[in-house]
Amino acid sequence: MPGPVEYSIWLVCTVLEVAVVVCAAKSRSFRRYILLNVYMGLSFLVSVGRYQVLSRAGMESLEYSYFYYYSDLLLTIALYFALLNLYSLVFDEMKVERYLRLGAILLLGGTAWFSYGVINQSSQKILLSHFVYELSQNLYFVGLVLTYALWGAVLKLRETRARLIQLVLALGVYFSAFAANYALQNLYPNITVLHYVTPLLGCILPAAWAYSFLRVSEDQRLAPSRLAEVPR
């Protein structure tokens, strides 16, 4: 069972998830960033659900394990659509929303098809839990690549909207931090402190997004020269 440190980090993370939705509503940006808020709201509900299942069934139970991985897929799909919300905001002046939607559906379908293909190759019996786990992992990597591509687009288009830049950058830091922590855990499996770092990293995204909604107004602009020098 998790100790008081893990429970405290989890609680902070859950409170921050609610804070994102509250701050977005307070700054009248709820509808503009609707999918980001849906993701955060869903994260909060999943956290509450996971706590209920964990306290009833225990850490080693199949019930918690299944609930955790199934809800993780749900959250990863929601995060994927939140990322598309950011894409549509970055490219809103180019009027390519229709193509973005089509590309998103193709990519999601392609990832699901690829995940199914991997399971089909590796075992004769197709288990739904195996598919859910594989799809969740694959979507994580798709999200990672899409986030870096979006950051490249933000630089190339010389985006100046401070809040949008912070939201995208926070997502990039979030994905990168998890990837770095994952690499460190594999390199140094005996360092137990890294296991505390993983849930702590989960607080990065809600904290950064809550800060963006609370402190950075929609009209605030960054000077392009401060962002980066990109030759056109």
Partner: protein, 49 residues
Amino acid sequence: MSRRLTAVAFLAMLVLAGAMGLKTVVVAHSGNSVIMANGGAPQPPRPPQ
């Protein structure tokens, strides 16, 4: 119009290929551990396969 649709499909497949390539590299250098990036809940062992 169809050229744009082809470009969208090509880009989507390019992202998918890049992401799966990255995943293959990462998984090849790791044990049986998983990468999960949603919330602060403690991670349970994987369900039996």
